[in-house]
Symmetry: C2
Subunit: 463 residues, 2 copies
């Protein structure tokens, strides 16, 4: 990686200005600054920002960048939480927001074809208009791009029933360093010819090439949905409740949990919460399918929860369903009621070990005098661990960092992962080797060299 | 590849005998012959057959084989249809049938951990006993191994709702040439750390290493199922019917179609078919979920089919459901009522182009005086094309081969694939380059060299 260019020459700038006319090439510091960060606290100034409108520009760009050894960082809306899109070592940021056509939403083939800059929620909406479902549903769905979702293998709320982004990608078109165009997969729902290059790009974090077109599969849009918010006396009862629901054969589209501290934060912002005051643990289910099927699942769910004596059970349909989910959505802002700073992590563990993981995460916080909120996608074992602290207090930021380290080690110890959906980027790069073996890392590096022999694609990020 | 050993030396044989004592190492021609074929018509005699019981033996074997440049072919039950497990160029066949422990079926983590030699249907059964679902359901499920299913990314009947084997594999343990053990993925349902080595092994056809342990995800077992066999006046009406069902928001677990010639074959064996005599096209749906949900889906399905005036609609539950599926299962043997020989192909096309694909496949047969049956997984666009012929008749085998070529070209022309689930192995190896680009093939070869620098793993097979 050491032979990468350390800055842009005048000739480089001239090349970029010609390939990306006018406002499609930004050099001014105040313009570049807008592309220096993402939703993490990481920062790095790009040397230039370019905004391709056509694949041919991307081809020419990557031909040039490979020859000139200029680092290239693809970027969607910059909603990532780990610095994956941050040019910490400089380089040229390629904003793909102008490649934002929904090329096809096809109700006969049950596929959609989109450019990477399409907002994922816009794709969902376009599909729903044709009574089709694009199910991946990361919390950022209304603001993040499909290209970013694919590059990070975005997860989200509905993964327990519908899987993650990986499970929905049928084909990709990508431009590789050197400017060659790879087309892998396509519109066929089944295809077993060749190694699975399509899914290799899913979650690759922009380290293999730049995606220029994505084909996803679709399903029929379920006709009905409903949600149920259940309050419990404590977190243990909540987790037993979730086990009981799954054991009853109910497969919810979403199964979220919230611990006591999370509920305390949500109550502090005065939200109108349809949850018993005494509840110190909560589950939020979403069910979808046919109308009668959803009704049956709600009956089964409330029935199997009865022996656990829930503090409250609130069923919501239509607008009332939205009200239940506003509780979940309020967590992130509410956390700041408890402390001004937080580290947001997203470990995942085998589903049966969530209780142990949460209990030990709480202990990690207690030992360091910090409040730790745990909530998230219980159905996938994907726990959002928010380490709250006040960086103005002497030593607290350092203690929060120590807690983060301990949480990551806990995840690995429990047979889980340091990231269920955010990726590693900059903030977790140094922890990757605690999860992945030297052999796995060696294979990944070698595969990367196959696509990117000079290491120009998003350098310096974790696997 | 040319530096691979051309035969075993006496020292090689001594090594193998020591590592695999007694009956776990076979050299006698009559014993080896049992491992020379699969469900294709391809044949090739292995130089030796070994049967490991433990991963450590596999490690030592692949350390040796890499040094000695001896070709290694993993093998499950040999049910593949394309010669993928056939040692056409010799080499050592590694039967994994003794590594057949179901290590864990876990109702808390919703995962199962198995060795590769477990019969896929046995895994399904073990899961169902704990009210858990392992959904991939290839036609061979009762006789094929999970290792083979993963190596070929087996598809099957329920892919339309539940996806293919790829979508169910959470982790693999594999021994690579040189004897190194790779562990990728694990028991977490979500994990975005690193390149996706896990799915790279799914469908890799034994060309990267030998799988020694597989972790799959499970879902709650649906409480109810029912099936519906619908007869139509012709295939066009059948395909319109399927579109109508999906448009109505019904997502069947399976959606099979049968064309006129397929129904003729099935009737010739005198099967008791619950289908109107006049039906010249048929759909077979399977629905699963809650009891009321399944009822609702059956109502919706029969309602939207009414305008298409189906010749018959037969709903089956319990044992009656089995009777409907016996029609589907009888196709393979029934085909021999029409002609003594057949080529069985499994193209897939975008779902909306199935009608065109079937029509043109029939024309390909007619032009060559051959009967071609089309049936299969309509929901995935995965068409089983059976080219019937009589090899004893002058020129007919050659015409069947020509028809096969034309069918493959048709699939690629329609934006589809030459294999939806069987793979390419020996029988389709020469067609792979018609579907995959030179760049894709170059990347696959390079990735393979990363895992297998001397090309010892299952050489001579198509991607």
């Amino acid at each position: 990686m050491s032979d990468l260019a350390q800055s842009l020459t005048a000739a480089h700038r001239a090349f970029l200005s010609e390939l990306f006319p006018g406002e499609d090439c930004l050099f001014a510091p105040e313009e570049r600054a807008a592309f220096s960060a993402d939703a993490s606290l990481e920062r790095g100034m790009p040397w230039a920002v370019v905004r391709p409108e056509r694949r041919e520009q991307v081809e020419e760009l990557l031909r040039w960048a490979d020859l000139e050894r200029v680092a290239i960082l693809g970027r969607g809306r910059g909603t990532g939480r780990v610095g994956g899109a941050v040019p910490a070592q400089g380089g040229v940021v390629v904003s793909l927001l102008k490649m934002n056509r929904i090329i096809d939403v096809n109700e006969r083939d049950f596929v959609a074809v989109v450019e990477p800059g399409v907002i994922a929620g816009d794709l969902q909406t376009a599909c729903a208009a044709k009574r089709l479902l694009y199910a991946p549903d990361p919390a950022s769905v209304r603001i993040s791009t499909i290209g970013g979702n694919v590059s990070t293998c975005a997860g989200g709320l509905r993964a327990v029933k519908y899987g993650v982004t990986r499970d929905w990608v049928l084909g990709v078109e990508a431009v590789l360093p050197g400017g060659r165009v790879l087309r892998a997969g396509g519109r066929s729902h089944k295809d077993v010819v060749g190694l699975d290059l399509t899914r290799l790009f899913v979650g690759a974090g922009g380290k293999l090439g730049l995606l220029t077109e994505i084909t996803v599969k679709l399903l029929p849009l379920p006709e009905a949905s409903a949600s149920v918010l259940v309050g419990f006396s404590d977190l243990g009862a909540s987790l037993s409740g979730a086990q009981a629901v799954f054991r009853a054969g109910v497969l919810p589209a979403a199964c979220e949990f919230m611990d006591r501290e999370t509920l305390r934060a949500v109550r502090l912002i005065g939200a109108d919460i349809p949850l018993a005051d005494g509840a110190e643990g909560a589950l939020l289910f979403k069910l979808d399918g046919t109308g009668p099927g959803v009704d049956a699942e709600i009956r089964a769910l409330t029935e199997v929860l009865k022996p656990l004596d829930p503090a409250s059970v609130e069923v919501g349909r239509g607008e009332a369903e939205e009200r239940l989910w506003s509780v979940r959505r309020s967590i992130s802002p509410a956390a700041y009621q408890i402390a001004p700073d937080k580290l947001s992590e997203d470990i995942a563990v085998p589903r049966g070990r969530v209780a142990e993981a949460v209990e030990r995460a709480h202990a990690i916080g207690r030992e360091r005098g910090l409040t730790i909120l745990c909530f998230g996608h219980l159905g996938d074992g994907n726990i959002h661990v928010n380490i709250l602290h006040d960086a103005r207090q002497e030593g607290e930021a350092a203690r929060a960092e120590q807690a983060k380290d301990a949480v990551f080690r806990l995840a690995v110890e429990l047979g889980g992962t340091i990231s269920g959906e955010h990726g590693t980027g900059l903030t977790k790069a140094s922890f990757v080797s605690e999860q992945l073996s030297p052999l796995a890392l060696e294979l990944m590096e070698s595969i990367k060299r196959t696509f990117d022999p000079h290491g120009i694609m998003n350098p310096g990020k974790g696997w």
